[in-house]
């Protein structure tokens, strides 16, 4: 068994430290928001996890396309790793968003475009794992997985735009804000520091998890090969 590379070990430690600093910045350093109060602090991790979640789904779609072109199993491992991590991060985003929405929108959930799209994205990638589960042949499993991520990654943006045609209440903090949105606010200096640091920290954490998960996938593939060798 290959030992963990030193770079990866260092990255593991850096990720933990960054998460700790980011937590401090979000929960203590950043000033309290005037109208929403303490619950606004959820925002920093909410955006950061959403960002890495999207990053992962994008990486999965790219890995899927590359797999179909090259038919190299290593891209299948990359694809599964990306989908798995993103599924978890997106779920965290939804939970954090709900915690924030309860006091601010006075409901845990609304059928707003972003919320609906996030929920449907989760369902698509859960379906992705159910599809893989049902196929024994690793080659076919990889091909079908790649096709389905491709179809899913095209459908998700269209879903978003189709629901966007209704009106949205989700606030847009960065860029132009819709005046009808509930819970918008302007970021002050301290908030910006916490916000951009959280984005940075979660990007590093994502890369670290991604790397570890790919390594795990490679090891699992090797175990599978050894098993076959013993059986024959």
């Amino acid at each position: 068994m290959q030992p963990k590379s030193t770079t990866l070990k260092i990255l593991d430690i850096v990720s933990v430290l960054l998460l700790a600093v980011s937590t401090y910045l979000a929960l203590i350093y950043a000033p309290e928001e005037a109208t929403m109060g303490q619950v606004q602090r959820v925002f920093y991790f909410h955006i950061a996890t959403a960002w890495v979640g999207m990053l992962g789904f994008l990486a999965a779609a790219v890995a899927g396309i590359v797999y179909l072109r090259a038919q190299n199993p290593k891209w299948d491992i990359v694809e599964v790793a990306a989908v798995e991590i993103s599924l978890v991060f997106f779920f965290i985003t939804i939970v954090l968003g709900s915690i924030w929405a309860r006091p601010v929108w006075n409901t845990w959930w609304t059928w707003d475009p972003r919320l609906t799209t996030a929920a449907i994205t989760e369902l698509i990638y859960i379906a992705y794992f159910m599809l893989r589960e049902g196929i024994e042949d690793p080659d076919r499993r990889a091909r079908f997985g790649a096709v389905y991520t491709l179809v899913g990654s095209l459908s998700v943006p269209i879903t978003f735009f189709s629901i966007r045609l209704f009106r949205t209440i989700h606030p847009v903090v960065i860029g132009s804000a819709d005046p009808s949105a509930t819970g918008t606010f302007d970021m002050t200096g301290g908030m910006q520091v916490a916000f951009f640091f959280a984005l940075f920290a979660f990007t590093v954490i994502f890369i670290d998890l991604f790397w570890n998960r790919i390594r795990m996938g490679n090891l699992a593939a090797k175990v599978e090969q050894l098993k076959l060798k013993v059986m024959h």
Partner: protein, 241 residues
Amino acid sequence: MVTKSARLSKSVTERSTSPNLFKATLAIAWKDLTAEYRSRELFSAMLVFSLLVILIFNFALELDIKTRQSVTSGVIWVTFAFAGTLGLNRSMAVEKDRGCLDGLLLAPVDRAAIYFGKVISNLAFMLIVEIVVLPVYSFLYSINLFNPGLLAVILLGSIGYIAVGTLLASMAVQTRTRDVLLPILLFPVAIPVLIAAVKASGGFLNGDEFSMILPWINLLIVYDIIFVAIAFMVFDYVVEE
């Protein structure tokens, strides 16, 4: 696993047979329609199922005159979507069960012909069911559904639904869970079609201005084009042995 040179030579032979693509597509669609005309298995199942769904909605939603106006487009699209999965599952399962799919794959035609042939036959089944369900719905709930705009929306929506459904059904039949899996794979991906189709149908039924319905119709057209194109490109990978 197909090597690169084999793939290359395959694409060369495909190109040489491509003038036959249209003929091959029609032949496959014709085969399905003939088989269905003789057995009428699929059509009767989809039709009875659709009528049952409408009946259940009648009790579940208390379809009185007021609610009818607002929920009709939703009810007919849920009915079509459910009946559609039934048809998609069956049309691919029949090929798989009797080893017909291998025969089709051995035929010296472009794989795209198999996809388009299947899309045409599946679309035909779905449209035939819709043609029967619409007058029945009109008759039962005395709502006039014969609006040319609504019929166009139903055609566009069905094309998108079947285009992606045929691709996913050919994947689902090759898995262990088979028929259970198709709706789970298809519904989340087909959501844009259903949203746009329900909104556009509702617009026509309420007599909204055309400029208000147009964005939804555009969305349907965009979805149809994207998914027919993508399914056409990846279908090879789905049926490859």
